[in-house]
């Protein structure tokens, strides 16, 4: 059955409606109403998205590509709002709405005691709308709208607890760093319009087919011809580096953990941060034109995958470990894009969305149980208090670490093999990074599990404290002291954990064949024949079972196992060892715990530097030069002149007569001179 406009509009507008009601009429609808209307909206979106996916995958529906309305029409150039729904879009729609639905339900429990309950629901529903607009767009303009709108909601949600100085610093930082990316992105869009003649995906991709597209060059600096495709793709990718937090624009993502945990799961793990990955995959016809741009993508992704993962090993805040893990996994996706394995990147995006949302929501469940303690040094032994959280987090971590047959195994192995297969510049470096990254991933994943759920309890329950939960502020008691014992979270929290655990474990097995190797995405992703590493790999693919068995014989499995073994040895059996290792590896530890000093560098260079520059311009330029010297200076000159003129106005008639004569002579002389000068 073909997709209808009404259907797609309903998917987009249902969450927006919920957001508007919950936000504007929060008093009238109350808590139950706000949660109800937004959950109903997102649930409807999710159900209809599943229907769309079903229709496209099995129902024989053709790709939907239509404009809804014209945004503006200037001369020949029209900007539109419209939808392009193919299988790539449909997959994203399902991931977004499903994770969003889980997070909505989870929020009922997580934010139960927060005063901003309705506001929170309004924001996350608005986010769902924005993200859907982003993935369903059929043109760059609307893509940019969605891109910035999700950034706005991210800004609002990171700063949700707007009384906290750290939160309102983090949200501003996130917005500004993203703006650096958007700066490149917007220029890339301008380049697309100029060189490919349209902002419509279909039209642009059509225009990439010509021979001219791949070879056209431009000299921005005289004497240096650059391929336009390279410029455009690198500019667009800078946008992706902001949104998907790639080095060196990754600094905002760890700080975004200041936001409430549900949004860390939804926005900063599963959906928004993957927008950059989705965008590059969507633009595959463009990126395929530029080997240089893809190498750039590859190197940035590989660097992100390894070096941010390393930071995760030394973090003590449970959310930050997961955040650095997210950075690292985004790096893996980017690497896949860089070797033209777009489907591999998007595939890892999907599996990652499930298991990383699960890990974040699990971490949130732990945080609630610990009365808003996030430091793992004061946890330990929680498995007996919260078995559901414990088991689901284990499942999520196994998927993340790439344990055979779990979803993450399929997606990550495919990426690693694709990199091994590629001959692109930078592929060797990337191969090293992604393999080393496997070890690091296992290390921090199991460290988190052991420090949180296993070993001795590193907290005391103070019996004398009365009941009543602490606020959602940071105002818990001394570290390691709890008012009452940890407890398993209510069903609204554990149900999403279980529902996310299912795809985290299983989805890889059922989808790897079609999505990666059988061209399931169809025309949505275009790969040049000589770059097509996934098809190469496809020749060796004989079903998921064979892949799992084969996996046991491969390097990644043993590297991950080594990480698991080391983590188990250190954090489960020899907790004392960490301190000794720390002092033995002091320089490395310092580098990691200080996050390579990148934050400090940016703070000095851009924040303080910008302010100093502004003061300089203001005081020296505006106040000193323009106002001081020119404006007030000329006022002073006028003052002096008029003092002189006052002296001239003596009141004596002959003075005036004399002045008139002088003036007349000057006038006549001037006229005579002009007459002479004229031809």
């Amino acid at each position: 059955m073909p997709l209808s406009k009404t259907l797609l509009l309903t998917i987009v507008l249902a969450p927006l409606f919920g957001a508007a009601v919950a936000g504007l009429f929060r008093r009238q609808v109350g808590r139950v109403g706000a949660a109800g209307v937004t959950i109903a909206g997102v649930a409807l979106s999710c159900a209809l998205s599943l229907h769309v996916l079903y229709q496209l995958a099995w129902g024989g529906a053709p790709v939907f590509n239509e404009n809804l309305y014209t945004w503006f029409q200037v001369g020949p150039f029209g900007a539109h709002v419209g939808f392009l729904v193919d299988r790539l879009t449909a997959m994203m729609m399902v991931v977004v709405t499903f994770v969003s639905l889980m997070v909505h339900i989870y929020t009922i429990g997580y934010m139960a005691e927060d005063d901003g309950f309705q506001r929170f629901f309004s924001y996350i529903a608005l986010f769902t709308f924005s993200m859907l607009m982003l993935v369903m767009s059929n043109n760059f303009l609307q893509l940019f709208f969605g891109w910035e709108a999700v950034g706005l909601v991210s800004y609002l949600l990171i700063g949700f607890w707007f009384k906290r100085p750290s939160a309102i610093f983090a949200n501003m930082k996130a917005f500004l760093v993203n703006r650096v990316g958007d700066f490149g992105f917007l220029l890339g869009i301008a380049g697309v319009l100029y060189w490919f003649g349209s902002l419509d995906y279909a039209q642009v991709f059509q225009n990439t087919l010509g021979d001219a597209a791949a070879t056209q060059t431009v000299e921005i600096f005289a004497g240096h011809p650059w391929h336009v495709a390279t410029i455009v793709c690198i500019c667009l990718f800078i946008g992706a580096m902001g949104k998907s937090a790639q080095v060196p624009l990754h600094v905002w993502l760890p700080d975004s953990m200041e936001g409430p945990t549900p949004i860390s799961a939804l926005i900063h793990a599963a959906t928004m941060v993957t927008a950059g990955i989705f965008m590059v995959a969507r633009m595959s016809p463009l990126f395929e034109l530029s080997e240089t741009a893809l190498s750039f993508v590859l190197v940035i992704g590989a660097t992100t995958a390894l070096f941010t993962g390393l930071i995760g090993v030394v973090q003590n805040d449970i959310k930050r470990v997961v955040a650095y893990s997210t950075l690292s996994q985004l790096g893996y996706m980017t690497v896949a894009l860089g070797v033209s394995a777009y489907a591999g990147g998007v595939y890892h995006l999907m599996t990652h969305a499930f298991f990383k949302a699960l890990l974040f929501l699990g971490a949130g469940s732990v945080i609630v149980a610990m009365h808003h303690e996030q430091d793992m040094r004061y946890m330990g032994g929680l498995k007996k208090y919260m078995p559901i959280t414990w088991i689901t987090m284990w499942l999520g971590s196994l998927a993340l670490a790439g344990a055979p047959a779990f979803s993450g195994f399929f997606s990550k192995d495919a990426i690693i093999e694709a990199v091994g297969e590629s001959h692109r510049f930078g592929a060797g470096y990337a191969y090293f990074c992604v393999l080393a990254g496997v070890f690091v991933t296992a290390l921090y994943s199991f460290r988190l599990l052991y420090k949180t759920f296993h070993g001795p309890e590193r907290f005391v329950v103070d019996a004398h404290h009365g009941h009543g939960h602490a606020d959602h502020g940071d105002d818990h008691h001394e570290p390691g002291h709890l008012a009452h014992a940890p407890h398993e979270s209510p069903w609204v929290i554990t149900l999403p954990l279980v529902l996310l655990a299912i795809p985290s474990v299983l989805i890889g097995w059922f989808t790897i064949g079609p999505m990666l190797f059988e061209g399931w995405f169809g025309g949505a992703i275009r790969v040049a024949e000589q770059n097509d590493v996934l098809t190469e790999l496809g020749h060796e693919f004989h079903g998921p079972m064979a892949m799992v068995l084969h996996g046991f014989t491969q390097a990644p499995f043993w590297i991950a196992f080594a990480g698991f073994a080391v983590a188990t040895y250190i954090w489960l059996f020899n907790p004392g060892l960490t301190e000794r290792t720390k002092s033995a590896l002091r320089p490395i530890y310092d580098v990691l715990v200080n996050k390579y000093w990148i934050d400090e560098l940016y703070q000095a260079l851009f924040a303080r530097g910008g302010i100093a520059l502004g003061r300089g311009f203001w005081k020296a330029g505006d106040v000193g030069l323009i106002d001081g010297a020119v404006v007030n200076g000329s006022a002073a000159v006028v003052g002096r002149v008029s003092a002189t003129v006052r002296w001239l106005q003596s009141g004596y008639l002959y003075h005036y007569a004399f002045a008139m004569i002088l003036g007349l002579i000057a006038l006549l002389g001037g006229l005579w001179w002009i007459a002479q000068a004229a031809p």
Partner: protein
């Protein structure tokens, strides 16, 4: 078809001003009367928009009366889509200004309201005049009420600010007057159409171009003749700031469209790089200066300068695109972008100054440091402020995005480097705006005075709500506006293709 709509729009508020002066001894009478006049003017301006036939294009609602026969100066009015858009912006904003001045202005209410209404009339006159002398009279005339508004109801340094404002702009307009007199000597009349058709040597065009540039650059204002604006804003009452930022600055951009581009196209082409360079400097330099301001009004004033730079950038990029690249399609995008930016900046700056006015009415300070955590006590206000801040950052979905986006797209077609510098606004604009929001709106309640602040009252709600609707409507669906202006824009770009020397 004889239409007197434009005359009605000009004289209704001016006559209204006299009526308010005459019968507004009671403050409340003056307020209600003024609101009535402003509303009526707005209602009368609606047929201007709905009645303008885009299919026909050109000047419509034309009026023509002999004024000074000896000089062949005429009372000639007419409006194309650009004029219509600016006039409707003026009437819309004026209603909100009258409403916004309801409480804050307590002394000499009738005189204040009368000055505002007279100003509205003059502004509409500027946008409707098709005779250069008439234009000049309105152009100068509007200085007087503004001078009075800042000078009487302004802050402690109002005398310095108002003199600076007056002398700066007056100085600029003298150059324009000289230029107009020269053109009158050449043509024997004052009609703008005759000026545009006049053939002028490159040298003549050069002189005229710089005369107009000085006049309009001060008005916009462009770097480096911008320093009157922050001072004027800081001292002006809220209503004065709103009108100044939302409408009066637009007169500068409008002047470039009506004078510089059609009358001196060849000189404009030759010196386009000057204007483009000045605009780019404004975007970066002024952005940095805005970042370090400690006074909210100064910050938004500087932000206005940086945003108005997109207007001048767009207009002169258009010239470069037509003349050196033969790219009229890109030029149309650039001119449209400049125009949309003017309208949008009217809404956004008006809204931002109104927001600052709301804060000022409560604590009587404009220092950022005196606030903090306003969201705790004024949640609705915070919601509006964040919305307008986002529009100021040029977030898509708000009006602030549309014009900047068009101008950057067009600038890229002239030179990617120009686009690169212009796009820097994405970063620096967000930096100063969000830092302001962080320090004023978010955080713990800053002090006891902030703790006692009350959220918006009904009147403030209406003002900010109306701005919010305008900002969102233009952001989500700019097509009605661009359609309205499309014939005029096409005509301007068409005229740029013809050399006059």
């Amino acid at each position: 078809m004889a239409s007197h709509l434009l005359s009605l729009l000009i004289w209704l508020p001016i006559v209204g001003a006299i009526v308010v002066l005459a019968f507004g001894r009671q403050a409340n009478t003056a307020r209600w009367l003024s609101l009535g006049v402003a509303l009526l003017t707005f209602v009368v301006s609606i047929p201007l928009w709905t009645g303008y036939q885009t299919a026909v294009g050109g000047l419509q609602f034309v009026e023509h009366l002999s004024w000074i026969p000896a000089l062949k100066a005429n009372y000639a009015l007419g409006a194309d889509g650009i004029s219509v858009a600016l006039i409707v912006l003026t009437t819309f904003t004026s209603v909100l200004v009258v409403l916004g001045s309801w409480g804050p202005i307590e002394t000499r209410v009738s005189q204040y309201m009368a000055a505002m209404l007279a100003l509205e009339g003059f502004l509409i006159g500027v946008f409707a005049a098709t005779d250069a002398l008439l234009f000049y009279v309105f152009f100068e005339g509007m200085l007087i009420p503004m001078f009075i508004i800042i000078g009487i109801w302004g802050g402690p340094r109002r005398v310095y600010a108002t003199l600076k404002f007056f002398i700066y702009t007056f100085l600029g307009s003298i150059f324009m007057l000289v230029g107009l007199i020269y053109l009158h000597m050449k043509t024997g009349e004052f009609s703008l159409a005759s000026f545009a058709q006049l053939s002028l040597s490159t040298k003549e065009q050069g002189w005229l171009f710089f005369a107009f540039l000085i006049a309009f650059a001060i008005k916009v204002p462009m770097w480096p003749v911008h320093t009157w604006l922050p001072d004027a804003h800081v001292e002006a009452p809220t209503g004065g700031s709103v009108i100044l930022a939302a409408i009066m600055l637009k007169v500068g951009g409008y002047g470039f469209i009506r004078f510089s581009l059609p009358i001196t196209p060849d000189a404009s082409q030759e010196y386009a790089w000057v204007v483009i360079a000045m605009s780019l400097i404004a975007i970066v330099y002024i952005g940095y200066v805005a970042l370090v301001q400690e006074d909210m009004k100064k910050l938004i004033a500087y932000s206005s300068i940086a945003h108005m730079a997109f207007v001048t950038l767009g207009l002169f990029i258009a010239l470069a695109l037509v003349r050196t690249h033969g790219n009229p399609a890109g030029a149309r995008l650039a001119v449209q972008g400049a125009m949309v930016q003017m309208i949008s900046h009217g809404f956004v700056s008006g809204a931002m100054f109104s927001c600052i006015g709301v804060l000022y009415d409560r604590l009587h300070t404009r220092q950022i440091a005196d606030y903090g955590g306003v969201a705790n006590v004024m949640p609705w206000f915070a919601a509006f402020m964040v919305l307008f801040a986002m529009a100021n950052c040029g977030l898509p979905g708000t009006s602030g995005f549309v014009g900047e986006f068009m101008v950057i797209l067009a600038a890229f077609q002239d030179s990617p480097l120009i686009a690169l510098v212009a796009a820097f606004t994405l970063i620096i604009g967000a930096a100063y705006t969000l830092w302001l929001v962080k320090r004023v709106v978010f955080g713990e309640v800053g002090n006891d005075k902030v703790a006692k602040m009350k959220d918006l009252d009904a009147r403030e709600w209406i003002v900010l709500g109306a701005f919010a609707i305008a900002v969102l409507a233009l952001g989500v669906y700019p097509k009605p506006l661009t359609d309205l202006m499309e014939p005029a824009v096409q005509q301007i770009v068409q005229s740029l293709t013809l050399a006059k020397a």
